[in-house]
């Protein structure tokens, strides 16, 4: 039987806020990510998606439950796990050129192999020739592609992405989705993607998980049975796409209504 590459079991995270009160962010979240699977997480704002991703990555120890990476409990960021954050401008190092930023992801390799890998990764995301530019000399979409190259350059087995395309315009977003899909289908890594965009989640994923409002649990799991390879126009205009979109959206809205019921407001 195939083992999941990442396994989150009954994850519970409580955070202490400034005034000292303890807030339960996730109550009970479980999920399995199989090798080379593409899974998306959608859920109301503030439902703890970023918190979940940080715990899954070993950046924050959970208050309860367990995270397993390839079968071993995660205590620190595992080798073989990479992340792309939403805020590329806070994630790329502004004092390093694009090439050197990508090389940060390939730290462990010997120098000549590293250079080779960095060039390949940049070529893959369409940034050939931009090695010596600084991140701020690039557009937002290009910066996020650089962050993607940095995450991919070490051939990880898991890529975590936290709303990676939320800060770029719609056209760039479509393009970046296809860049990720192409990278993913050519390699063997699994993806866990957090997004606000239901269409994006469906277009990219094998499964979509809907998170409830805080303190969060997994409300629903929707299998995406659209055939691959997918493309923006063809896939998104299928009747099945519309059905899945309605189904996921309904669950998300239910989660949002629950949130209103509990908090009296939507954040």
């Amino acid at each position: 039987m195939v083992e999941p590459v990442l396994s989150v079991r009954n994850l519970q995270v409580s955070l202490r806020s400034r005034d000292g009160s303890v807030n339960q962010i996730t109550k009970d979240v479980s999920l399995d990510l199989m090798p080379h699977e593409f899974v998306s997480i959608v859920g109301p704002s503030g439902s703890g998606k970023t918190t979940l991703l940080r715990s899954a990555a070993g950046l924050r120890p959970p208050s309860g439950g367990q995270v397993l990476f390839e079968g071993t409990p995660v205590t620190d960021v595992p080798k073989g796990l990479s992340i792309v954050f939403q805020e590329y401008n806070k994630s790329l190092f502004p004092w390093l050129s694009v090439g050197k930023n990508v090389a940060v992801g390939a730290r462990e390799l010997p120098v000549d192999e590293k250079n080779q890998k960095v060039s390949e990764a940049l070529a893959h995301v369409g940034l050939k020739g931009f090695e010596n530019r600084y991140p701020w000399e690039l557009s937002g979409g290009m910066q996020q592609r650089a962050a993607l190259a940095r995450a991919m350059v070490s051939d990880p087995s898991i890529l975590l992405m936290d709303e990676p395309f939320a800060s770029v315009d719609a056209l760039t977003r479509n393009h970046l989705e296809d860049v990720v899909l192409a990278l993913w289908s050519e390699s063997k890594f699994a993806v866990l993607l957090v997004t606000h965009d239901v269409g994006e989640a469906i277009y990219l994923s094998d499964r979509v998980l809907v998170l409830s409002a805080r303190p969060s649990t997994v409300l629903a799991e929707v299998k995406i049975d659209l055939e691959r390879p997918r493309n923006q126009i063809g896939t998104r205009s299928q009747a099945r796409f519309a059905e899945l979109h309605a189904e996921v959206l309904e669950r998300v809205e239910a989660a949002g209504r629950l949130a209103v019921g509990i908090d009296g407001h939507v954040d």
């Binding site: 992340i83 954050f85 806070k90 994630s91 502004p94 004092w95 730290r107 462990e108």
Partner: protein, 254 residues
């Protein structure tokens, strides 16, 4: 006209105003600009260059460098580790609020009337702007950036040297520049209060022996020293912070 040229025009106007005012007032306590410049020239070309100017330059540089290294090192620890910050906050607040001139007698007792005393006094004052700025700069680094460092295995020494140091460098440099002018000022104060050589000693000595023109010359030399130090510092800063948006050769967008 370029800013440099405009700067020179400003200096010329000031010099002319000084010259005319001094001639009109005709007071011995207020020598003319030309006389003061001549005295300054005399200082930098005479034996005082070796006995007073160079020792002062060396003390300022050594005091500033030690303050910088200590301030940046300790500042990064204070800014990064919450526990260190909590344990040191009161001590740091207490030490930095001690008025430096009061420390001169202590330094004299410990080191004697010499250069070491001056260097120690400089450090006691110049370390704080570096330490505080570095600690703030470190504490304000974006959490996403620290997460990124962690994900890509930059920990321990590498975290400090390859991430925290560059990420906090704009604020560190702001602190260093203040520390540089503090170093110069404290150098003079310490040498006046308890020196046996140096530009501060030269100025107070000239004053006490009624060599008014000589003391004005000393002040002009001091001003020039400050200008040279600041210019060198800015050139260094521009080089190291060249990655900052808008400062890299000519490529400015938005």
């Amino acid at each position: 006209m370029s800013t440099v040229a405009l700067g020179w025009v400003g200096i010329l106007i000031l010099a002319a105003a000084w010259q005319i005012l001094a001639i009109l007032l005709h007071k011995s306590v207020f020598p003319t600009f030309v006389a003061a410049i001549a005295a300054a020239y005399h200082i930098v070309t005479g034996p005082a260059l070796r006995t007073d100017i160079l020792p002062s330059v060396e003390r300022t540089a050594v005091g500033f460098l030690i303050s910088s290294l200590l301030g940046v090192g300790v500042g990064m620890l204070v800014g990064h580790y919450r526990a260190v910050q909590q344990w040191t906050a009161t001590v740091i607040d207490f030490l930095r609020s001690l008025p430096t001139p009061l420390l001169v007698p202590v330094a004299i007792v410990v080191f004697g009337l010499n250069g070491k005393m001056v260097v120690a006094t400089i450090i006691s004052a110049a370390i704080w702007p570096v330490l505080i700025n570095t600690a703030n700069g470190t504490a304000e680094i974006e959490p996403t950036m620290m997460d990124t460092a962690n994900v890509f295995g930059l920990r321990g020494r590498k975290l400090f040297l390859k991430v925290i140091l560059p990420a906090a460098s704009p604020q560190i440099f702001a602190g260093l520049r203040i520390a540089l002018s503090v170093s110069l000022a404290i150098m003079v104060v310490a040498e006046i209060l308890g020196g046996s050589s140096g530009i501060g000693y030269y100025i107070s000595n000239a004053q006490q022996s009624f060599d008014i023109v000589g003391s004005y010359g000393g002040v002009i030399v001091l001003g020039l020293l400050g200008w040279v130090f600041d210019t060198l510092f800015l050139a260094f800063e521009r080089r190291l912070l060249s990655w900052q948006r808008g400062t890299v050769g000519g490529f400015i967008d938005g």
